[in-house]
């Protein structure tokens, strides 16, 4: 069944269909309607879950960590400064290998205060050891939320499902709600091999020493460094798990494809725009216009940002003359994070395209389609003019 609703409702519906058992969240714009919807669903009995109100984002994730440690399927959501307030627990959840799913409704970070969209919040947490998936429209939001639980529980790594604040969270568009039976066929019940259980007492995440040491049974146990190596190794394996889950979702629910990189007119493209989130859809019209001018362009939306599908990037863009990375975040004093990742991935190729970096839309600054067209066109036709420093689009002073 198709409905026309907001992106936040799409996310909440996915959380319900995934039969989430524990929800803890603290409201923050533009995430608030998502948690309001979930509390409504729980309150009315339409969703059988424990909704735990908390006094902060740090506590919200702490509750999810406890619930997940006890073997429950747990969900939270936040934005911007709320995400940063969670940061200590974000690293903990990853290190403790708890398959929590969190929606990050992307918003710029204060100071100065902004409630509007950019990607700095999620990007600032990219090295925490969470999987990061980005959605471009409401259909992807609901489908990705459902898939995220399966991915997280398969590799025991938490997942952030990121989608643009306001642009998607508060925009209404049609999307299809999967049937509960199909979701149940896709997503098995969460049954971890170990969890906190009073009948079977255990210590989890006890202090480690720099070196390895024997466990209580006398077996040599992994130390901090081995545990962290496991996380990294499993993160790398997650790339193929994401692809596998997408295939399973196509079989059971009937939708999917392009789980790592979603490409539009890239097959024969000389110049390819690369970005995260709904911006990649806005760029489709720009690509069409430039194609009309005889410039062979395409656009690629990165759906899986962490782990970074670097080998796929290197293989997919091997024939491009130029990649143009449009970003709503940057590593201050250096360049856009995605720009660095793309360049690093291409380093393994003998023939490397030029790569440009545009910074735009920070704090919700309107991204005008003609401005995108202008920048993209210059990158294709006058590419030597653009250096390695990020170019800013939309500055007014």
């Amino acid at each position: 069944m198709h409905i026309i609703e907001s992106g936040n409702v799409a996310a909440a519906t996915g959380v319900k269909l995934a039969r989430t058992e524990v929800i803890a969240a603290y409201p923050i714009t533009p995430q608030t309607p998502l948690t309001e919807k979930l509390s409504e669903l729980v309150d009315s009995g339409k969703m059988k879950a424990e909704y735990i109100p908390v006094e902060s984002e740090h506590s919200a994730l702490a509750v999810c960590i406890a619930a997940s440690s006890a073997g429950s399927r747990a969900f939270t959501a936040t934005s911007a400064n709320g995400l940063l307030y969670m940061s200590e627990q974000i690293h903990w959840a990853a290190g403790a290998r708890l398959p929590i799913v969190m929606c990050v409704v992307n918003r710029g970070i204060g100071a100065p205060w902004t409630v509007w969209n950019d990607h700095q919040d999620a990007i600032s947490q990219r090295d925490a050891g969470w999987i990061q998936l980005y959605a471009c429209d409401h259909q992807q939001i609901i489908d990705t939320v459902i898939q995220a639980f399966h991915i997280a529980e398969t590799v025991r790594i938490p997942v952030m499902v990121c989608y643009d604040g306001y642009l998607l969270s508060h925009t209404y568009m049609p999307f299809e709600i999967p049937e509960q039976d199909a979701v149940d066929a896709f997503l098995p019940k969460f049954s971890p091999s170990y969890f906190l259980d009073p009948k079977n007492p255990a210590n989890l995440n006890t202090v480690t020493l720099p070196d390895i040491r024997p466990d209580v049974r006398g077996n040599m146990a992994p130390g901090y460094m081995e545990i962290r190596n496991n996380l990294h190794t499993d993160m790398r394996k997650t790339i193929s798990v994401v692809e596998e889950m997408d295939r399973k979702y196509q079989k059971t629910v009937g939708r999917g494809g392009n789980p790592l990189i979603e490409k539009y007119r890239c097959e024969d493209a000389d110049f390819i725009a690369v970005c995260l989130g709904s911006l990649s859809y806005q760029l489709r019209d720009v690509v069409d216009t430039l194609r009309g001018e005889g410039i062979k362009t395409g656009v690629a939306g990165i759906r899986l940002y962490r782990p970074f599908p670097d080998k796929t990037v290197a293989a997919e863009f091997v024939n491009a003359k130029g990649l143009i990375v449009f970003e709503k975040a940057l590593s201050y004093g250096n360049q856009g994070a995605l720009y660095s990742d793309i360049k690093s991935a291409l380093y393994r190729n003998d023939n490397r395209p030029f790569v440009h970096n545009y910074i735009l839309g920070l704090g919700g600054r309107e991204i005008k389609t003609p401005d995108l067209l202008h920048a993209f066109r210059i990158s294709c036709t006058d590419f030597r003019k653009i250096g390695d420093d990020p170019q800013w689009i939309g500055l007014k002073l």
């Binding site: 026309i4 568009m173 859809y281 019209d285 309107e366």
Partner: protein
């Protein structure tokens, strides 16, 4: 750019329900076979009574560009005093139309020679049994008449669905009455 996209900008005041009105039209358009329907509210720091606006794009195909509308085909205004605010009719295409809740006749509004249709939705809504100030259902009737885009019956059905627990019949009646009383001017 996609020329087949119909762009409608809605202006109201915080609390008037412009977003709900646009959502009802979006639902009706989708039911009529417009697969691309995107309604993007422009958010500021909302207060009751402050000017608000939302962009509604309608197309036969999926819409990928979510950016706000700068050159609308239609502008729907829930309070005629907003026409005096700067920017409300900015960018309207030369053959575009303004649809406004106003007690005045089209000719009494100075809108730079643009086409304008008026209906006194505030009074009609009371006549239909709604309390004073509920105009977001009625304005849909004026939209239906002036745009000719979507059949009135489908809009009335969607109004009843949206207001299923808030006087559905009266809200639909307000739209139906407004449809018949919309003054298309010249």
């Amino acid at each position: 750019m996609s020329d087949d996209v119909i762009k409608i900008r809605w202006h109201g005041r915080g609390g008037q329900g412009a977003i709900t009105a646009a959502k009802i039209v979006a639902n009706a358009a989708f039911e009529c076979g417009y697969n691309g329907v995107v309604m993007t509210p422009t958010f500021g720091t909302e207060r009751r009574g402050a000017p608000v606006l939302t962009s509604l794009k309608i197309s036969r195909n999926k819409i990928y560009d979510l950016s706000p509308i700068s050159e609308p085909d239609m502008i729907v205004v829930l309070d005629h005093l907003l026409l005096e605010e700067p920017g409300v009719i900015n960018g309207l295409k030369s053959d575009g139309i303004i649809i406004v809740n106003s007690p005045k006749k089209p000719a009494d509004h100075a809108v730079n020679g643009k086409k304008i249709a008026t209906a006194d939705v505030t009074s009609i809504a009371v006549e239909a049994g709604l309390k004073q100030g509920i105009v977001n259902s009625g304005i849909i009737g004026a939209f239906a008449k002036a745009s000719g885009l979507i059949e009135l019956n489908i809009l009335l059905k969607k109004i009843k669905e949206e207001f299923h627990d808030k006087k559905p019949s009266e809200n639909a009646e307000s739209a139906r009455l407004t449809f018949s009383k919309t003054d298309m001017g010249g």
